[in-house]
Symmetry: none
Subunit: 398 residues, 2 copies
DNA sequence: AAACCGCTTGAATCCAAAC
DNA sequence: CGTTTGGATTCAAGCGGTT
């Protein structure tokens, strides 16, 4: 193994931000001086190098594993020019069985390195994605979505014997069915998408032009370089600034470049000398975006909880105040302990949520939006009082 | 077995257009009088009935097998109404192994019935499609394309924990890698698609409204009825008039209805009484189209919907860029995820529209016309950038 | 007549912290 | 660990009734 980017071999394999005490205790031992988040390319074989990383240490894995294209002979365009197909030696596998064994091995190794809350992204085409998806399920990964990358400018089908192969498939999965706490920046994504939730089909152009790395002879450096925009959406969707992103098949370094720009740490593993060198140069030239463009906005889901009782304690609601629903039909009275009592009923006392549900005959209810108070002749949901209290407490309340 | 639609048991299981001499020579014996193309629903179990059909007798198979959804609890919409989930017994499998065995069995049986030049279509979601695809490859099928059905009106993700599951996947495969002569109506498809090749991502709405079959109580008859437009494109793409289409999981009979309308013969197998009866009625009411109309349906080019995030992703706006209103008074900074942050305020982050509204104290705002960027000393509304991107995308957007 | 509003619904692996 | 409780969460279409 040879460590290439910032840091040394020793530092790379030993560093870990929050030691989690995996199988390799020596890995988690000397942590102190290592910069974090890591920003390193490991030159070596994925399986070997993955096994050297500390267990449960990364927040997100992105993998673009080699495809099993099995192209027989050269594909030609109608004008007889040759298509530069993906037929490098590393991309040939003797059989499905060999590919499955390879897939199972790297997925298992990657899974060990994932934190319990981490998620995994894999990209592939119909040549390999079905085998990968099935293997992921067999290994216990829990699929969250499959995502379709619709290519804005795909290569046409020259022979006219099939549909234009205009997409690739990504699988997004948690480590296990019961995995909790994975990152999904729902509100941010929605906010950037005309205020509607983002769908499972994404449209991006291929990586071409200036973005496409070239070798000395002006040919494309890597046969399957992915567009940075695609990787950026992945990292912005499913990771936070400061998280560590692992790419076991780094290739031309797109994942590292995007991670660095977006303030994520990364660990990339790559076997080929040429790719390692190119990725190193490429990533070194990246300037991270300023925090102002990155830091996560406060989401309602993550805001600290405020009990209704504290509104009463702080005097924002006086005991005895009457609450109503939006239309003023249902009524309740605020009690000093922060519970409320439905008016007219018998002994219906409880939380704003329970009583809201009871009043509607529903199983559940968000009392913050159901109940209203009348102030200055207008009815406001009590949620605005909560927002006011959060603001007073110095908590960003949106 | 009970034969339901036109014909009798004997005729159905013995007929074959061009006897190909399969394993069951008695099946191919008495062919003469049977009407052709066949138009029959077989009431029975797929595996049993497939094994009774003559070998190498059908031109196209369309299969919509159980998805094995593995749903846990009930799901509610934000308004507390319950989602009518697919909880039928036929969708329940004990394990992946059981589902794989089922998949392998019906695929093997279907393959025997396919002519050497026939192709197979299967539809599924991420719950099952990877397992099906891998099994198909294992059995020797040769994948020609995977096709994405993009749903125009999918059900949203109510809890905001994943991307909207907005597509399903179809796999199109030949019987073997060396299969010759499969049907692909390239010219007709292209002619109906503004003279560009049809891509692997298709946009169709769900089957709703009048097209959706209802039971006596006005509820949906079948939980997963597919839209006829989707099946029509498949048959128009990969079969000829007079071909025989087999559907081993007929359900509400969509494949039969479309096949009859398009002048294809069909054999549908279905186990449930109710579905058989409904499909029979439905198909009987279908009037075949005249030959002259059997061309590929025109598909309108969609106007690409552009989100602000795609301007950022595509580099037309760099994260960190300052936006202002037309007069340069209100300011905001563009973030990497396509949201914007009001400058000077506390934690005001959100979409261009919401932040525009907030800045004005208005209820709503069109962020595209409110916010401006300064380029070359002049202020432009960001709408001009959107127009630019639309122009770029319009070239290749479908 | 056309526009508008409200209601319903669709193959869904859909929560997390506190007790 | 299981159980309870707080409280966050939806988009596009079709249909029927009303303006």
């Amino acid at each position: 193994m040879r460590l290439v980017a910032k840091g040394t071999l020793q530092r790379a394999s030993r560093r870990t931000c929050r030691p989690v005490g995996g199988e390799r205790s020596e890995s988690a031992a000397a942590v102190s001086a290592a910069p974090w988040p890591p920003n390193s390319i490991i030159h070596g074989d994925s399986l070997v190098e993955l096994s050297r990383l500390p267990a449960e240490s990364v927040d997100l894995v992105f993998a673009d594993p080699p495809y099993n294209l099995q192209l027989k002979g050269a594909l030609k365009r109608p004008d007889e020019s040759r298509v530069d197909a993906v037929d490098d030696a590393w991309d040939q596998f003797e059989s499905f069985a060999a590919y499955d064994a390879f897939t199972r091995a790297w997925l298992t190794a990657a899974r060990r390195v994932m934190k319990p809350s981490a998620t995994l992204w894999v990209i592939g085409s119909y040549h390999n994605i079905f085998r990968i998806g099935a293997t992921m399920q067999d290994l216990g990964f829990w699929i969250l979505n499959d995502i379709v990358w619709r290519k804005a400018n795909p290569m046409p089908n020259f022979r006219g014997r099939r549909f234009t192969n205009a997409h690739e498939t990504l699988i997004w999965a948690a480590r296990a069915p019961d995995a909790k706490g994975y990152t999904f920046n729902y509100e941010a994504l929605k906010g950037g998408n005309e205020d509607v939730q983002v769908r499972s089909d994404w449209l991006f152009p291929l990586c071409t032009g200036q973005e496409r790395l070239k070798d000395g002879a002006g040919r494309k450096l890597h046969p399957t370089q992915k567009p940075e925009a695609l990787i950026a959406r992945i990292l912005l969707s499913a990771s936070k600034a400061g998280d560590v992103v692992l790419d076991p098949f780094l290739g031309s370094g797109t994942t590292g470049a995007v991670a660095k720009r977006l303030g994520r740490g990364f660990i990339g593993i790559e076997r080929e000398d040429d790719y390692v060198r190119a990725a190193q140069e490429r990533i070194a030239a990246i300037e991270p975006l300023p925090d102002s463009a990155l830091l996560a906005p406060p989401s309602a889901r993550e805001a600290p909880r405020v009990a209704f009782a504290s509104l009463v304690e702080r005097g924002l609601v006086v005991p005895g105040t009457e609450l109503t629903d939006a239309k003023g039909r249902v009524r309740a009275v605020v009690r000093a302990d922060g519970t409320i009592a439905l008016t007219g009923g018998t002994a219906n006392v409880g939380s704003i949520h329970r009583m809201g549900a009871l009043a509607q005959g529903a199983e559940a209810c968000n009392g913050w939006t159901f109940w209203h108070v009348e102030q200055e002749g207008r009815r406001h949901p009590i949620d605005v009082l909560r927002a006011r209290l959060r603001a007073e407490m110095g908590i960003a309340a949106e």
